[in-house]
C-alpha cells in the first residue's frame, strides 16, 4: 500500500480537489482531526472552518461551510456545503 492518502473535496457545484496527498486536517463538530493514509473508517460532521491539504512541503487551504468527512479504506471524501480555496 502506498503511503499516500486519496483525498477528494466536493461541493454541490463541483469537485474542487481530487488526488493523492500526505495529510488532510479538518475541523469536525467534536474536534479538529487529521487524516493520514490507512486511517480507520470514520465519519463525522464538519464545522465551518478550514481544510488543510498537505502534500510534500506544500499545503493548500480550503475554507468550507459545514459538511461531512467520510474516511474509508479507499481514502477521504469531504462533502462540503460550500467551499472555496484560500489563495
Amino acid at each position: 500500500m502506498s503511503g499516500k492518502l486519496h483525498f477528494s473535496l466536493v461541493s454541490p457545484e463541483r469537485e474542487l480537489f481530487a488526488g493523492n496527498v500526505d495529510q488532510v486536517d479538518a475541523a469536525g463538530v467534536e474536534g479538529d482531526f487529521g487524516v493520514l493514509a490507512n486511517h480507520a473508517p470514520f465519519m463525522t460532521a464538519l464545522k465551518t472552518g478550514v481544510v488543510t491539504v498537505r502534500d510534500g512541503g506544500s499545503a493548500r487551504v480550503f475554507e468550507i461551510e459545514g459538511g461531512f468527512a467520510d474516511v474509508t479504506p479507499d481514502g477521504l471524501t469531504i462533502l462540503a456545503e460550500s467551499a472555496v480555496e484560500r489563495v
Partner: protein, 290 residues
C-alpha cells in the same frame, strides 16, 4: 394558386422564422455547454452522498432508523414532485416528464392513494393544474439558473410536509441527462430515501466505522441535506436536458424551414416562368393578329 406577391411574402416569412430558430439553436448550444458542466460537476457530490447514506443505513436498523430513511410504514399519502423547465420550445422535453408524472398520479389515485403535488417549473404547473388543480400544494419556478438556495426552499417544503406527517412517500419526477441526444424522464423516490442500486456499502476490510456524532444524529443531519442535494441535482440535470432538447428541436425547425424555403422557391420560380410564358404568348399572338 397563390399570387407571386403572396408567395414572395411567404418565403420571406419562413426565412425570418428560420433566422429565429437558428439563433435559438445557437444560444441553446452555448448554454448547454455550461449547464452540462454544472450537471456533471454536481454528480460526484450526489453519488458520494448516496454512498455515505448507504454506509450509515447499513449500520442503523429497525426502529432506531430515522423515518426519512425507513419510511413511516405506510404508503397511503403520496407526494409527487414534478420538475420541468420554465420555458417551452424544446421538443417533447417537458411533456415527456409531465406524461410520466401524470401516469404515475393516475395509477396512484386508482389504487385509492391520496396524492399531493408540488410543481417546479412553469411547464409542469400549466398542464397539471388543468387535470389535478386541487392536488397541487405548492409550485415553484425553475429559475434561470438552478441554485442551491432555490433547491433548499423546495427541499425544506418537502421535509416540512413529511415531518408534520402529511405525507408518507415522496417521489420526484425529472429528466435525467444521459447524453445530448438522450434525456430520460425519471421517477426518483426521495422518501423513504432510496439506496440506489449499485451503491454498495463500501468494503471496510474488517474494520468498524467510527461516527462523530453517533449514527442516528449524523443521519438526522445528512438526510435533509441529501434531500436538498437530490432536488438540486434534479434541477441541474433538467436544465442541461432542457437546453440539449431545445437545441435538437431548433435544429430540426431550422432544417424544416430550409426545406420549406426550397420548396416554395421552386414553386415561385415555376409560377413566375409560367406567367412570363403566358405573357409572351399573348404578345406574340397579338402581334400576329395585326
Amino acid at each position: 394558386m397563390a399570387s407571386l406577391k403572396e408567395m414572395r411574402n411567404r418565403i420571406a416569412s419562413v426565412k425570418a422564422t428560420q433566422k429565429i430558430t437558428k439563433a435559438m439553436q445557437m444560444v441553446a448550444a452555448a448554454k448547454l455547454r455550461r449547464s452540462q458542466d454544472a450537471a456533471m460537476g454536481a454528480r460526484p457530490y450526489a453519488s458520494r452522498m448516496a454512498a455515505a447514506i448507504a454506509n450509515l443505513a447499513a449500520g442503523v436498523s429497525g426502529d432506531s432508523a430515522p423515518k426519512m430513511l425507513a419510511g413511516t410504514g405506510s404508503d397511503q399519502r403520496q407526494l409527487v414532485v414534478v420538475a420541468t423547465s420554465d420555458r417551452g420550445l424544446a421538443g417533447g422535453f417537458n411533456s415527456n416528464i409531465v406524461r410520466a408524472a401524470r401516469d404515475h398520479i393516475v395509477a396512484l389515485t386508482n389504487e385509492g392513494k391520496t396524492v399531493s403535488i408540488i410543481t417546479v417549473g412553469k411547464k409542469a404547473l400549466a398542464p397539471l393544474r388543468r387535470q389535478f388543480g386541487d392536488k397541487i400544494v405548492a409550485s415553484y419556478e425553475a429559475g434561470a439558473k438552478p441554485s442551491l438556495d432555490a433547491a433548499l426552499a423546495i427541499a425544506s417544503d418537502i421535509a416540512e410536509l413529511f415531518e408534520s406527517g402529511q405525507v408518507d412517500v415522496v417521489s420526484l419526477f425529472y429528466s435525467r441527462f444521459k447524453s445530448v441526444v438522450q434525456q430520460i424522464p425519471t421517477n426518483k423516490r426521495l422518501i423513504p430515501a432510496s439506496v440506489e442500486a449499485g451503491t454498495e456499502p463500501i468494503d471496510l476490510k474488517g474494520a468498524a466505522y467510527e461516527y462523530e456524532p453517533a449514527e442516528d444524529e449524523l443521519l438526522d443531519v445528512l438526510l435533509p441535506r441529501n434531500l436538498n442535494v437530490q432536488v438540486f441535482s434534479a434541477m441541474l440535470e433538467n436544465q442541461a436536458g432542457f437546453y440539449a432538447s431545445q437545441m435538437a428541436a431548433m435544429d430540426n425547425a431550422t432544417r424544416n424551414a430550409g426545406d420549406m424555403i426550397k420548396a416554395y422557391t421552386i414553386q415561385y420560380n415555376r409560377t413566375r416562368q409560367a406567367q412570363i410564358t403566358k405573357e409572351l404568348i399573348e404578345i406574340i399572338s397579338g402581334a400576329e393578329a395585326l
